[in-house]
Amino acid sequence: MNVNVDNGSLALAFSLVLVSLFISYKQKLHLEHETIIAVARAVIQLIIVGYLLMAIFKVDNWIVTIIMQLFIIFNAAWNGKKRGVGIEHAFGIAWTGLMLSTFVTMGILVVTGVIKMEPFQLIPVTGMVAGNSMTAVGLVYRSLKQQFNDQQAQVFERLALGGNLKQAAGDIFREAIRTGMQPTIDSVKTYGVVSLPGMMSGLIMAGVSPISAIKYQIMVVFMLLSATGISSVWASYLAYRGFFNRNWQLQLPEDKTIN
């Protein structure tokens, strides 16, 4: 390992946060408070997870590994749910969607021998898959809410003409799936041209040959496309029904919070 940031340098690098705080203060963005909390959370969470991972890798026990994976997925689902406030079963849908996308995607990678059943491979990959799936689910939720709100007149007309829920929703859930998957597709397009993805950069900085690093990165691309695809479809199909009550009437989340 030829990267090692010593604690002194890291402390000095904190000045970078000050730049962000200064901009926020000067431009009256009122982001100072949030920035400090975000930085503090990131530092504390990463320190804990660093020691935790070290312990888990040392123990190398499959039960511990699975518990850690489940813990990551649970947290991701909890975060994904936040965009879905008011959507019925937002957490349950996010959680099952993340379980599905993570284990299907990783299952394929393990079976094909791309990654090994070792905690030091399984856990980081789980984090990447679940993290991207989480973002996708959040976007799907937001898109559904936005579209049902904007198109309530059209949805109402379709219901009045005797359409079932799927017919009444029209293109809304398809558009939501697209919204969930789009950022991954967009970012993948610029890989290597604009951005050197984090995992690949990390490997190169740690001294791994760029060719090995890109192989891993290509695997990550395949993995993320599959994961965001599965979780977006799952979330969209299950969540759009929650915008209707059992009598096939449109029920927007805003109304639910009032009632």
Partner: protein
Amino acid sequence: MDLKVEKLGVSFEQVVFQNLNFDFNAGDWVTIVGKSGTGKSVFLKSLARLMDVTSGQIIFNGQDIQDLAIGTYRQKVSYAVQSASLFGKTVRDNLDFPFIVRDQAIDVQKQQAGLRQMDLPVAYLDHPITELSGGQRQRVGVLRNLLFPPEVLLLDEISTGLDAETKQLIWQVIQTMHQMEGNIVLSVTHDADEMASARDLIEFGTEVKRVKK
């Protein structure tokens, strides 16, 4: 065909209406009048099951509508909106929908016949909905309800904001259908002409009563 309303009531924070009892039979054309906010539109929507009632029952051809499949019921008891916003991209998307919900093959000739009746060119099938005028939009909107003549047609102030000519045209099309089918039409209106010519009226106010002339 008949539609019966028994002790019907709807309340939100306040009572909108309560204890309504009406019997509508084949061939009835009932004009519903009253000030804004008296619950006329809520009444029509609850008949189409687009809103839930707080108390009472709605009986359609002898069956409580709660026991009927919702989609099929709404195809038979068809609610026409005040100002149709239309969905999809083209007129065709809107006129295909009644066929799709009935799981029937799309009959272009029927769609074209409908457009002609509404005095719209048949080429309008592929016309983008964003390029239609308000009057044209409403004609397409109502046509969706009429392609398969419903047993009960619920009209919720469909002529509000339309020019005299369009209004006349839409009424003629609906009246022709009504005479041919002998179905039930319930029409909420603020239109002076329509109110003047009404024979069978329901007045919404502090009291709700049906008046036959």
